[in-house]
Symmetry: C2
Amino acid sequence: MTSQGFTLWLTGLSGAGKTTIALELERELLERGLRVERLDGDTVRQGLTRDLGFSKADRDKNIERVTYVAKLLSRNGVAVIASFISPYRAARDLARSETTNFIEVHVATAIETCAARDVKGLYAKAFAGELKDFTGVDDPYEAPLAPEITLQTENVSVQESAAEVLRYLEARGLIPQREPALAG
Amino acid sequence: MTSQGFTLWLTGLSGAGKTTIALELERELLERGLRVERLDGDTVRQGLTRDLGFSKADRDKNIERVTYVAKLLSRNGVAVIASFISPYRAARDLARSETTNFIEVHVATAIETCAARDVKGLYAKAFAGELKDFTGVDDPYEAPLAPEITLQTENVSVQESAAEVLRYLEARGLIPQREPALAG
């Protein structure tokens, strides 16, 4: 199947659930026969961004390189799922202007919830001043002004969050409808 | 058409004719209906490599990032044409190991010919010591040991060079045969 490419851009705080939702979306899109690339800090670090830290300049470079990759993939029919904190509006707007069928997905988990989960123990360190430039603590998160999709993750399962994104993609005609379940 | 991706990697000295051949290949592959991305210093600088210079470390980073992009594109069915001096064997071997259907094309124009052409005046500056780390002058070019294709560009037209590459791709089944010309 030759399909149209697009760029799902998941933005939100550390611990908001971006990667979990991205993995679920990747699985669903692969099941529908699409060509999919999931980009996040872990997948791009080795080949693309391992010289970068967390300063404003480095965060911008990080998003700039990811944007370049997403541009080339999405214009060649690949479904790109990019999940990055991407705290700065201007950097996300660059991605919007450069990539094909850019869809901003705000994973809008409140910082209190992210900090309470604190899966990696990063918020504790940030609040203790042991981690610098931590988004939401001592570095700003500029929430999207007009995201295509806003996901509230509290009391919502990962499957439901992913399903909301998939319905959007179906409505836009960017992915085929799911085959109805076989009877019997 | 869903086609198999591949990575044509053109390596050779500055002025060897890599970009000229790459442009001709891009035109031919687009005509055959393939999805094509041509990567070279100019196309990748803005989004990917503008922080890099010409030291060994920077050249390696440059090829490493390009390799990452070529990997993602070629495994998703895109025909990638990468043209970089890429003087170091180890860096090219990284590209070979990471990308899909890697084809090393040595554009083997002799340095005397490149220096005599000297389209950009770079060899004159390098011989005068005004340019440092210039491949073939004061920085090594490690010629490929077993390239899939070696192109001699002296007394050979760009079209003939490109045709040799296209015949190889056809023989490998990576591109469709060219439609025969219509009669009349």
